[in-house]
């Protein structure tokens, strides 16, 4: 697979390590009343669909940026790649 890095261009997927579902960006609020069930869900349950999947890849052997990759889990086709920091910033999360 080739991942089209937003800053570095097309890179071999072997340069990256894989974390999992991009919803892992949304860490629950540890002080909220429902923190316990929210963290069980966050830590252990996954959507795992067959089809388009947004997921976190880390450019370990490159610029060490985190990417949000939209990839089809049946065809492995990659349709969108964003910097995870941009995704978080759009939600008002990071500066």
């Amino acid at each position: 697979m080739i991942i089209n890095h937003p800053l570095l261009g097309p890179r071999d997927a072997a340069e990256f390590t894989y974390l999992g579902d991009a919803s892992l960006i949304d860490r629950p609020d540890g002080m909220a009343d429902n923190a316990l069930p929210a963290f069980i869900d966050y830590g252990y349950l996954r959507d795992n669909n067959a089809g388009e999947h947004r997921e976190l890849w880390f450019h370990e052997q490159g610029d060490r940026s985190w990417l949000v990759v939209t990839r089809h889990t049946v065809t492995h086709e990659i349709t969108n790649v964003e910097l995870a920091s941009d995704v978080a910033r759009k939600r008002g999360r990071s500066k």
Binding site: D12, A13, Y18, G43, R46, N48, N49, A50, T73
Partner: protein
């Protein structure tokens, strides 16, 4: 029809015209007491033990493709019970014992071959870990034998014990481990279950679960709706997709695992060998091909095919201990989809939905577990209590902190 030496001789004299189909290709009825979704090794074994050991009748196994087309025909055929943790080892040892009696039990030649498995170690720390594992196995009634490099050399003279980076310091052997003809496992269980009256329905994909007031009462399929008393999901690899029909999210990611077989050779490797410094394991099939594999690709996939970086990694691991692989040509390579769970261990449990049961999360260790998985799942379906060797395989072990994490990797499925 029972297989016997007399039957083979008499059929040979009559031009082999008297053999029946191995199992009945059933058409679905409108209602079954037990519907097992998934006609893989585990589903067929479940149906067999449910009928044989627990005396249940009116059972169906429904399979979207053909028998033997999924993971039961895609694995590397190894059986062993060399686990360490209490939640696992008694279960896998039960499985190995069931393998030992399988052919007599099923009256079917599954080519169970206890040729032994050898896990190599390469450092002092790894030796300590393997001694600990071997002791845990012995405590649970399994066999384990620590071998010196000289003992290993006498059985496997071609192993590269003097490699500068990964010298072989010894190995932990389980002599009762070995290999089994994997297709014959599916066929043998299907035949034995069918003889006990189980309906095996192929080319019948489940498209929905019929759930009323938090109770599962049937399934909808591509061959019409089927009502059921108890519905048992047994589709490791696609567990999340089936359970999503019940609105459940699972502690599972699906990953692709590749396997390889070389061109045929004369007898070379008598048992199963695993490399301890990378991920590579190898055995030789009775046809002569070297069957080997390694790590999963490491990203969510339902593709049943992988990518080249893992091919390279597996072959590098092979070359480190078996330099004589270098001139070998690859005959075939393929992929299968694994339920990678959050702690590397499986789940055999009830679900929050009444009459809906779940068996999955086998990671890449499902084949060796086939008989015990079937027996324990049948026990759960028949009695509504977990089998004594499968009490740890619960859904709620994650929230309760009772993970069964053999590798100690935490909740990162692609590292198990």
């Amino acid at each position: 029809m029972r297989f016997s030496a007399f039957k083979i001789i008499s059929e040979a004299l009559r031009g082999h015209k008297g053999w029946d189909a191995t199992w009945r290709d059933a058409t679905p009825k409108s209602h079954y007491d037990y519907i097992i979704i998934g006609g893989g090794g585990h589903g067929l074994a479940t149906a067999y033990y449910l009928a044989r050991r627990y005396g249940k009748v009116n059972i169906a196994v429904i399979e979207k493709g053909w028998l033997g087309g999924g993971n039961v025909g895609r694995n590397t055929t190894i059986i062993r019970s060399n686990y360490m943790l209490n939640g696992n080892e008694p279960f896998y040892e039960l499985s190995l014992q069931l393998w030992e009696g399988l052919e007599q039990d099923l009256n079917y030649n599954a080519m169970v071959s206890q040729r032994g498995i050898l896990n190599l170690f390469h450092t002092d720390a790894q030796r300590d870990a393997f001694i600990r594992r071997g002791n845990a196995m012995l405590l649970n009634g399994a066999d384990a034998d620590l071998l010196t490099t000289a003992q290993i050399k006498s059985r496997y003279p071609f192993l590269n014990t003097e490699d500068a980076r990964f010298p072989i310091k010894g190995g932990l052997a389980q002599h009762r481990g070995g290999t089994v003809r994997h297709d014959a496992v599916a066929w043998g269980y299907a035949r034995a279950a069918s003889r006990l009256g189980v309906d095996i329905i192929q080319n019948c994909e489940v498209t929905g679960l019929d759930i009323k007031k938090n109770k599962c009462v049937g399934v909808t399929t591509t061959r019409g709706p089927i009502k059921g008393g108890k519905i048992a999901c047994c589709v490791a690899g696609s567990s999340s997709r089936v359970m999503a029909m019940a609105g459940m999210r699972l502690p599972i990611e699906s990953h692709v695992l590749q396997a390889f077989v070389s061109e045929g050779l004369k007898p070379l490797i008598p048992g199963v060998i695993t490399f301890g410094a990378g991920h590579f394991y190898c055995s030789q099939s009775d046809k002569g091909g070297l069957v080997f594999g390694g790590d999963i690709d490491g990203y969510n996939s339902y593709a049943q095919r992988g990518n080249l970086p893992v091919v390279e990694d597996v072959c590098e691991g092979g070359m480190a201990i078996l330099p004589n692989l270098g001139r070998l040509r690859l005959l075939r390579m393929w992929g299968g989809i694994m339920d990678m769970s959050m702690d590397g261990s499986p789940i055999i449990d009830k679900t929050p939905i009444e009459n809906l049961y779940f068996n999955g999360g086998w990671c890449y260790g499902g084949f060796k577990a086939t008989p015990a998985s079937g027996l324990c799942y049948a026990h759960l379906l028949a009695t509504d209590t977990p089998h004594e060797t499968a009490t740890a395989y619960r859904f709620d072990r994650f929230e309760k902190g009772l993970m069964i994490d053999e590798k100690g990797q935490g909740n990162q499925p692609n590292l198990h």
